[in-house]
């Protein structure tokens, strides 16, 4: 049933209140005596006025207008929407973690420091790197940290002419955006007809101005870069470094490690691989791992262990400094830590094995109906092209809307850019065979619907709380806040 939901502001009634506070128990001075009138707010603060029950009903209704992993299958490619274990949430809410102040003395934070230390050790083993910082608050933040480290490394050697970063065309948008933020120039590397980095094209551009290559492996096409050893060699021989975008780490845990592939810097997305919830857009976490020669440049502080005492180490004279006000998203790290500790080595390997098995199974079911541009074993995800369907009148975006009507969250659409009408599908290991079968059947039904009446599919969805929303209008005539009429 279609309907809009009233905004908080439209529900507000003057005189209602949703809070209760103790009265002020210190002697109260007239405000004027503390803050002169000229420094006080003169405009009304027109926040909504609501009782507690109205606040709760409002947000409860909003939650019913939202789809999460707990609602159903969420094969959003590149995002690793696996189940978010409930114990992780309990862990982060423990008062001994949730109510800690970042400036409290180290001796009062030994448990937190121990957790950070243990987490670092596990990440080192999982990736084959030598040290980690847990400070970056998301994947993109990790990318920026990583490029800063690479920059600091080159600069420390007086190697100042390296002003370019190489990126394959299939890369995620954050990669080129990060390159610019770090003051570098982007050099795009094409893919070959297997969907992999074009090694010859790479060799043709790599030179003494190359600072680094940023690579996602498996790539955003879900394909493992088989030439990784040769790629690493080409970059290293030219004096460049290799950066690993770990968004797709879920494919390879226990099978191979970026550190062993030759990567010098790695970021992980703990809100993907380590099952921490995405929160409707965040918070996430983007720990960055490095090889030995980059350790001196890591952000301060690092966590050290001595005689079973844990401490923050700020004594890193070559450190790039800080990239977050404090230690990053500690609360998210707790959740990821809980996940890692409960999975263990075998569980993690099984998770990657099942993620890859699920993806290949679904790919095999779907390629009967949809065009699969790169038909070979995939890793944790694969990319279909809805180009044929688009010609019939309903493209990738329309197929996505049709899935909404049938209770599934759609795949990522129109990314990676190198596949026209891309549908990027990542089932993850936490889905059952029955779910995959049902999804495949639904995708077949949608293909039939397109054959029958593409026009109808192109105007969906039909069963959602609102119909297809006009994004063009939103951008042309931006209404970015509510205003009193």
């Amino acid at each position: 049933m279609r309907k809009s939901k009233a905004l908080l502001f439209e529900m507000s009634r003057s005189g209602r209140q949703g809070y209760s506070l103790p009265s002020c128990d210190v002697p109260v001075k007239p405000l004027e005596q503390i803050v002169p009138h000229s420094l006080q707010r003169s405009s009304d603060l027109d926040l909504p006025e609501l009782s507690e029950v109205e606040v709760i009903r409002h947000y409860t209704e909003l939650s019913t207008r939202n789809f999460g992993v707990d609602t159903g299958f969420y094969p959003l490619g590149s995002c690793t929407m696996k189940y978010n274990p409930k114990v992780n949430e309990e862990a982060a809410m423990l008062p001994g973690f949730a109510y800690m102040h970042p400036c409290q003395p180290e001796e009062t934070a030994q448990g937190a420091l121990e957790l950070l230390y243990n987490m670092e050790q596990d990440l080192i083993e999982l990736t084959g790197m030598d040290r980690f910082t847990l400070q970056p608050a998301a994947g993109a933040h990790g990318e920026l940290t990583g490029l800063m480290l690479i920059q600091a490394y080159h600069r420390s050697r007086g190697d100042n002419k390296r002003n370019k970063v190489l990126i394959p065309l299939s890369a995620h948008g954050t990669n080129p955006a990060t390159v610019s933020m770090a003051g570098y120039e982007v050099v795009q590397i094409p893919c070959d007809d297997r969907g992999l980095v074009d090694l010859e094209a790479l060799k043709a551009v790599v030179d003494e101005t190359t600072s680094a290559l940023m690579l996602t492996n498996p790539s955003t096409l879900g394909l493992f870069e088989e030439e990784i050893v040769a790629i690493a060699k080409a970059i290293h021989e030219a004096g460049g470094l290799l950066y690993y975008d770990g968004a797709n780490m879920n494919a390879i845990m226990g099978y191979t490690r970026p550190g062993d592939m030759g990567f010098d810097v790695v970021h992980l997305n703990i809100h993907k691989t380590f099952a921490t919830p995405h929160g409707g857009g965040g918070p996430g976490g983007g720990p960055v791992g490095v090889k030995e020669r980059l350790i001196p440049f890591l952000p301060v502080p690092l966590v050290e262990k001595n005689d079973n005492q844990f401490s923050f180490n700020y004594d890193l004279p070559d450190s790039i400094g800080k990239i977050h006000s404090f230690y990053g998203n500690f609360g998210v790290v707790i959740k990821a830590y809980t996940y890692l500790k409960m999975m263990g080595a075998q569980g993690l390997k099984q998770a990657s094995g099942d993620a890859v098995l699920n993806a290949n199974y679904l790919m095999n079911l779907l390629k009967k109906t949809y065009y699969l541009p790169y038909d070979r074993y995939c890793k944790h995800e694969f990319v279909l092209s809805a180009r044929p369907e688009k010609k019939k009148g309903a493209g990738a975006g329309d197929i996505a809307k049709a899935l909404l009507d049938r209770g599934f969250h759609p795949p990522t659409v129109y990314f990676p850019l190198i596949v026209e009408e891309a549908l990027m599908i990542e089932p993850t290991e936490t889905e059952s065979k029955e779910t995959l079968d049902a999804f495949a059947k639904t995708m077949e039904d949608i293909a039939k619907d397109i054959d029958r009446d593409a026009e109808k599919v192109a105007h969906g969805p039909y069963n959602t709380v609102v119909g297809r929303l006009d994004e063009v209008r939103a951008a042309r005539n931006p209404i970015l806040r509510w205003t009193k009429k």
């Binding site: 003395p105 990053g328 609360g331 119909g467 939103a474």
Partner: protein, 449 residues
């Protein structure tokens, strides 16, 4: 096998699926990984734990920490022990919210999208700005990206930052600017506030953004009158990092002419969590919206004219503009912004005003009491909102250790943050602190040395 409760495939499923694929074993699916880089043997990780064992382990770790529930905290410096109403956790624990991704499919994400639209509105109401984004990582990255945004909007590359801006934030700005090749100059302090004379001297027509904080890092309310005019006379922008709680009581940045407002939103109903996840607030005047980083939600209609919400103005963002994007930010702090929204909706205008007034009254009560003690003096004279800097008669670390014996988390030491402020500490007072707690602190300080 460990982790099995998160892995629904049975061995029988696996066999059937492999048959469909035409592979013999799962290992075959990994045959594209060259032998040279394959992991031989198993990862060397400690044995996996069951849920019960894990909870015991976590409890044991958590028990080693002091925190706001087993101590009385007077720590601030950007992260505060404000009261958090129960409703917040209940809303943010709705898994339709917390297990969703960024709302790329608006028709099934109206919950998150509307909540962000409401958040943006309330941030505008607090700050007086016209537009807000959906969040940044934290206060430090919000200040930094705001300063960079000013460079984009003015096509200049030099930024002035007052030393009264949080040193935690300045550390982040410094790092981003160094990497990107932007110029950063610091405006010195005068009596704990921005030295206006120096600001005037340093301002030039190459300055993009002037960065200030209100109340500043020492809890002092800076005199902002005339600053915006001065900054604007050089066609530079004024960026202010504001404490959102203080905005219920103090002049809004819009009222004194700021162009960009950022801040740390942890004080809005968010657990301190050892400094993260917290909330980067970012708002601005309308004309700068195209330079703004991050997600922005806008109102629109569906095919039948029903109101709905979508991510908008996306041509600023990395997934569309790639290397030309305003920022690389992708994931932000959406769930924390949701918590802040629930807080603001729950507190309403009176609640916010009451919290702000109690902070002000309690801090000023403590200020009088502490500075009248022998050996203690106010580091800087002036107007304080919810915290103030005190010079103490000895090593602050030693004092804090003594306070801890009474389960008091004392003040933040300024020495490591400001060379020359060796015996100075910053004490913060929220609405949660009672007269009794403050008097106890005063008594402990009095008895020291």
């Amino acid at each position: 096998m460990s982790g099995k409760h998160y892995l629904p495939l049975t061995d029988e499923d696996r066999h059937k699926m492999l048959a469909t694929i035409g592979a013999d074993t799962v290992e075959d699916l990994f045959s594209d990984i060259p032998d040279a880089v394959r992991l031989k043997g198993e990862l060397n990780l400690p044995p996996a734990m069951s849920e019960l064992e894990m909870l015991r382990h976590l409890d044991a770790l958590a028990a080693k920490n002091k925190h706001f529930l087993n101590c009385v905290s007077f720590m601030g410096a950007g992260i505060y022990d404000h009261f958090i109403p129960s409703v917040i956790k209940h809303v943010t624990s709705r898994s339709e919210f917390y297990t969703s991704y960024t709302p790329y499919q608006p028709e099934v994400s109206q919950g998150v999208l509307q909540s962000i639209f409401e958040y943006q509105t309330m941030i505008c109401q607090l700050t007086g700005m016209d537009v807000s984004n959906a969040s940044m990582y934290d206060g430090g990255t919000a200040v930094t990206e705001g300063a960079v945004m000013g460079c984009g909007a003015t096509r200049r590359s030099r930024v002035l930052v007052s030393q009264s801006v949080s040193p935690y934030y300045r550390a982040v700005i410094k790092n981003y600017f160094h990497s990107r090749g932007l110029t950063l100059d610091e405006i010195p302090l005068k009596d704990g506030c921005t030295d206006r004379g120096k600001l005037e001297e340093m301002l030039d027509d190459d300055v993009a953004t002037v960065v200030m904080q209100q109340p500043n890092f020492f809890g002092m309310v800076e005199n902002m009158s005339g600053i915006a005019d001065l900054v604007h006379s050089h066609k530079a922008l004024l960026l202010v990092s504001a404490d959102p709680i203080s905005l219920a009581l103090l002049q809004t940045p819009a009222e004194y002419g700021a162009d960009i407002v950022v801040g740390e939103g942890q004080c809005l109903g968010v657990p301190a969590s050892f400094g993260g996840p917290v909330l980067g607030i970012m708002a601005a005047r309308e004309k700068f919206v195209r330079q703004m980083p991050g997600r922005i939600v806008g109102e629109t209609v569906d095919s039948e004219g029903n109101r709905g919400f979508v991510l908008t103005l996306q041509t600023r963002e990395q997934h569309i503009r790639r290397e030309k994007a305003a920022s690389n930010i992708c994931s932000n702090e959406a769930l924390v912004a949701l918590a802040a929204s629930v807080y603001l909706a729950t507190m309403g205008p009176q609640g916010m005003r009451e919290v702000a007034e109690q902070c002000l009254q309690k801090a000023n009560y403590a200020k009088e009491k502490i500075t009248s003690l022998n050996g203690y003096s106010l580091a800087f004279p002036g107007i304080n909102f919810k915290e103030f800097a005190v010079t103490v008669p000895g090593d602050p670390a030693v004092l804090n250790r003594k306070l801890l014996e009474k389960n008091i988390l004392g003040g933040v030491e300024l020495g490591p943050l400001y060379p020359g402020f060796k015996n100075t500490m910053l004490f913060a007072f929220t609405e949660k602190r009672t007269r009794e707690e403050i008097d106890t602190l005063v008594g402990e300080l009095e008895g020291w040395k």
